[in-house]
């Protein structure tokens, strides 16, 4: 309902209308009526799971113009029934936080500052170092018993990694003979 002039004043509508507490119709404006939740403007909504604790709350991720514009609880989840805690509610900032580091950084030995490095170069350098450290730390035997392993490489993973990621980590490091492959689950 379009209002003009003095009739549009909320206080007047509150006093003269039925909304005496001013918390409903009397408080509405043209701007209010034109507001649309940004979740309604999303190009797509993708089902996800909260990445913090292990309750596993359902999330709905709202994407517009290839940017995450909102993350909300998924009411269909029988686990969380639409709720998210402060961390889950803040998880959009995991994606969009301005402080997020999105490019590769390199610190040379004894260096005092970060330097930029191309991802492709970093991958090559890491591959070379893995092969070298693997050989340096290689043991055919230990205490006279065959072990066929390397003590030169170790890994510690967080517990917000996907199962598929952990699977490739365990599979590849084991094939390389690395045994010091650990996880937050020990901690």
């Amino acid at each position: 309902m379009a209002r003009v002039g003095i009739e549009s004043w909320p206080v007047l509508r509150q006093l003269t209308g039925t909304d005496r507490l001013g918390r409903g119709e009397a408080a509405r404006s043209k701007r209010t009526d034109a507001l649309v939740a940004r979740t309604e403007q999303a190009d797509r909504v993708v089902s996800s799971v909260c990445p913090y604790c292990a309750v596993g709350c359902g999330q709905k991720v709202y994407v517009k113009d290839e940017k995450v514009i909102q993350i909300e609880g998924d009411p269909e989840s029988p686990i969380s029934r639409g709720r998210l805690c402060p961390k889950g509610s803040a998880s959009k900032q995991l994606v969009t936080s301005p402080g997020r580091q999105t490019t590769v950084l390199y610190r040379r030995p004894y260096g005092t500052e970060w330097e930029p490095l191309a991802l492709d170069d970093a991958m090559d350098m890491i591959a070379d170092r893995v092969i070298e450290a693997r050989r340096q730390g290689w043991e055919d035997t230990s205490g006279g018993k065959p072990v066929r392993r390397t003590m030169g490489i170790a890994s510690l993973g967080g517990a917000t990694l996907d199962n598929e990621e952990n699977y490739l980590i365990k599979k590849f490091w084991s094939a390389l003979g690395a045994i010091q492959i650990e996880n937050q689950a020990r901690i």
Partner: protein, 849 residues
């Protein structure tokens, strides 16, 4: 739970609304306490006394659920006559070797020479060469050979169904816990007999046919030098009360990370292969057969271990794995002891580790002994950190506390550091396994920015590059890398490997490439491949079962069509115990699964063979599941029973006994043995320990999380919203301690241990109550551990205060109970900080670093 698992806590509130009584037992008053019927403060590190006294209450009052206990547990089993209890040996069990600081567990076994007639069968394995016992652990130190989850004791032992034989488990238990009385609880835990009585009466009144009691715990139970035994004590209590395998029962671990359960199931843990198969240890002549002999028992579902293992080897090495070459079993590297994360850090400092990968982990803040952690990082040749933000473990070389104090400089640290940005959870598809074993697929919503990539991408492409470099190598050490199956379909602009294809491999497929329906389809002849047997079925019928999202409102209260739970989509483990031995629900209101005359059915997928009748009696030579009787619910155990007494599998005793934390303000009133005799200690420079009691470090402290932050802060301190909500490191102290030490609310305090000193804002609060312990007042200090030197909000790290001292079963650190001093004011800066700590060490008589 309301603080750290807030959304899960809604179900506690639902239960409360339906009449459940809620107790919160915790050193501090939290939002959980605020809505519980009763908050009972406890001294950190004393829970075995409390739980043991509850066990004693149940046993001495005859409150156990006798039908359940007799049929479903090993209460009737008779124990070796050479077994000696802590009650006989002043805090030690029989078999202790003080030189090696470890147990030989052979006397803890079931009796195989008893005159009592066996109602079951003979313990065959006890007469076979004992491959699992102390002889091997002597080679490798504690824990070396006990990594297999399954028991290795074979079939049911001699029993006394009257439970009166003096050496039957029930009587052993009764004697063992007799001194765990309400008076001891008051003396050690600081809980009044009245409060104890209320808990004891409530759990007894709410257990049995009609009712169940649940225990919920988190790392407050695991991060101790007796952590595994905390859980064991609760297991004993819950088995005695008949609260395992039933709806509303259980001992529920609330795990703190989205897929920390998955990280254990598909382990990035040194001692495990996927699905809790043990990593092989080094032996002179070890082949697949001898490995399997040691890996698990032959009876119960572990009896199919060969099918699980061969299918794993086929998943990894494909066509190269054949019957003739033992399915490439020799490709697996071998263990020789503890290779856990703390041992690795010590090895880094010793110069043994060249390269280190941190993938979503921030040990510089999140692991005990922060100084040691950072020293480890500074000691490796190169370090790869993959994370969303520039966490302290990536930036330690320029902003660590040791740089600030002038103990070291960037110019002295030779570590080459690669920081590779990670994709967030919405920028990749994959599964998390939540705390109830539920796998849930999260879909990829968009591409990650700039150089950010998933860890799946990183491992896959690193693997491609390494394989390319090694291709053509004739060196036999490169065969496992080159023969590895590593050919996942690629997707999208960044050539991401298909996560669904990886999950399919985890699920398993047959020789024709068809996805397997579940672990019962696995074969031991090499015709099936399966990356993790317990996850088999997650991609059954070529459908990603973990992505199922039928709305909760449109299905039963068990919600079996939301995600997929291992094993076989069973939501409550061992749920056959929800029915009586004849297969009838214990009561109508607690009905869950039952035998309908032809098969097992009910609200959940039965955790039992569907067609095995309750009357089934195994033939004497039966193997695997055929050896499990129709009334034995614990199908992973060799005897199908829940173990009140653990004959094998634990390195620190078959029963829980109270030992004080390594750093404790008081002595142990129960035994001359003050602490767990086999706990792992590492006395050395940088890891000095506070003496027991004494005036220098008179206060107990415990660490914990806040709702608004996540562990070491990598996913919270870098987010504006969460930083604003919880901006500053603080310590919680009682008004009495504040008065004693002159601490002012809102002011600063310095907390000191033999390792270092940190500063924190002071929160003077009644939420932490002083307790009366061993005739004196013990003050506890609460410390959240989220902060570090980087991020939007910064502060000192509580973990820097902690020593490295570990549970020998799990190699997990004791970070929930230690001692300290506290004084008002900020800590000294620069060189004055290590000087202060040195002064404390000198006064306490601790060796100089």
């Amino acid at each position: 739970m309301a603080e750290c698992h807030p959304v899960g806590f809604q179900w506690v509130m639902e239960a409360k609304a339906r009449g459940a009584k809620v107790f919160h037992i915790d050193p501090r008053f939290t939002r959980t306490s605020a809505v519980a019927h009763r908050h009972v403060p406890v001294r950190a590190g004393s829970d075995i006394v409390l739980l043991g006294a509850l066990v004693n209450h149940v046993l001495s009052g005859g409150h156990d659920f006798r039908d359940y206990v007799l049929n479903y547990t090993n209460a009737a089993a008779i124990i070796n006559e050479d077994f000696k209890d802590t009650e006989d040996l002043d805090g030690l069990f029989s078999g202790y070797d003080p030189e090696k600081r470890e147990y030989n567990p052979t006397t803890w076994g079931y009796d195989s020479a008893s005159e009592e007639p066996a109602s079951g069968r003979r313990d065959e394995s006890s007469r076979a060469p004992d491959l699992s016992a102390g002889d091997l652990s002597h080679e490798h130190g504690p824990g070396a050979t006990y990594e297999a989850t399954p028991s290795q004791t074979g079939r049911a032992p001699y029993r006394d169904d009257t439970l009166e034989h003096p050496r039957c488990v029930y009587q052993v238990l009764k004697r063992h816990f007799a001194r765990y009385t309400p008076e001891l609880v008051e003396d050690v835990c600081g809980i009044s007999p009245a409060d104890f009585g209320e808990i004891a009466e409530a759990i007894v009144a709410n257990s049995g046919r009609e009712r169940t009691t649940a225990f919920v715990y988190s790392v407050g139970w695991t991060q101790h030098t007796v952590g595994a035994q905390y859980i064991r004590t609760a297991s004993i209590l819950q088995l005695l009360l008949g609260n395992i395998g039933r709806p509303g029962g259980g001992i529920l671990a609330l795990r703190g990370h989205a897929s920390i359960q998955g990280s254990t199931d598909i382990p990035t843990l040194y001692n495990l292969l996927p699905g809790y198969l043990p990593m092989p240890y080094a032996h002179e002549h070890e082949d697949l057969d001898t490995y399997l002999e040691r890996a698990a028992g032959d009876t119960g579902f572990w009896g199919n271990k060969r099918a699980y293992m061969v299918s794993l080897l086929k998943a990894w090495w494909g066509d190269a794995a054949t019957e003739d070459n033992d399915f490439c079993f020799d490709y697996l590297p071998r263990l020789t002891g503890d290779h856990g994360t703390y041992q690795t850090v010590l090895d880094q400092i010793a110069g043994k580790v060249k390269g280190y990968f941190l993938m979503g982990e921030n040990p510089a803040v999140g692991s005990a002994g922060g100084r040691m952690q950072r020293q480890g990082l500074a000691s490796v040749d190169w370090l790869v950190v993959r994370d969303l933000n520039l966490i302290e473990s990536a930036t330690f070389w320029k902003d660590s506390p040791e740089i600030a104090s002038g103990e070291t400089t960037a110019e002295e640290i030779g570590t080459e550091v690669f920081f590779l940005p990670a994709a967030s959870h919405v920028e990749k598809g994959g599964t998390f396994t939540n705390t109830q074993r539920l796998l849930q697929w999260h879909h990829k919503a968009l591409e990650p920015p700039a150089d950010a990539r998933s860890d799946l991408w990183f491992m896959y492409h690193l693997g491609l590059r390494i394989r390319e470099r090694l291709s053509g190598s004739a060196d036999p050490i490169d065969r496992p890398v080159l023969d590895l199956t590593w050919d996942y379909p690629e997707e999208g602009p960044q050539r991401d490997p298909s996560a669904a294809a990886v999950l399919k491999e985890i699920n398993g497929y047959d020789a024709d490439g068809n996805t397997l329906s579940g672990f019962t389809a696995l074969k031991d002849d090499g015709t099936t491949a399966c990356g993790c047997w317990i996850y088999s079925g997650s991609y059954a019928d070529d459908v990603n079962q973990t992505a199922r999202r039928k709305p909760g409102a449109e299905q039963s209260w068990v919600a079996p069509e939301w995600g997929w739970a291992w094993p076989a989509n069973r939501r409550i483990l061992y749920n056959r115990a929800s029915a009586d031995p004849e297969g009838r629900p214990w009561s109508d209101r607690k009905a869950y699964v039952w035998w309908d005359g032809e098969q097992w059915t009910g609200h959940d997928v039965p955790d039992f063979e569907k067609k095995k009748p309750p009357s089934y009696v195994p033939p004497p030579d039966a193997k695997a599941q055929d050896a499990i009787g129709g009334a034995d619910p614990f199908i992973m155990q060799t005897d199908g029973k829940g173990w009140l007494f653990v004959p094998k599998g634990l390195v620190d005793g078959p029963l829980p006994a109270h030992y004080e934390p390594h750093e404790s303000p008081v002595d142990n009133p129960l035994y001359g043995q003050q602490t767990n005799p086999v706990r792992q200690v590492f006395p050395r420079k940088g890891n000095r320990y506070n003496p027991v009691g004494g005036e220098v470090f008179p206060y107990a402290f415990t660490t914990y999380r806040l709702t608004e932050h996540h562990t070491a802060g990598g996913m919270s301190r870098f987010l504006p919203y969460l930083s604003e909500l919880q901006p500053e490191m603080f310590c919680e102290v009682s008004p009495a301690l504040a008065a004693e030490r002159g601490l002012v609310n809102g002011g600063w305090a310095t907390i000191i241990t033999a390792r270092t000193a940190i500063e924190a804002r002071v929160l003077v609060t009644d939420r932490i109550r002083p307790l009366r312990i061993r005739g004196r007042t013990v003050h506890q200090i609460g410390l959240p551990y989220h902060w570090g030197s980087a991020g939007i909000v910064r502060g000192d790290s509580a973990n820097d205060l902690l020593p490295i001292v570990l549970d020998a079963n799990t190699h997990i650190q004791e970070s929930k109970a230690a001692t300290c001093d506290i004084r008002p004011g900020r800590r000294p800066q620069g060189a004055a900080l290590p000087a202060l700590v040195r002064r404390y060490r000198r006064i306490a008589g601790i060796p100089e670093d």
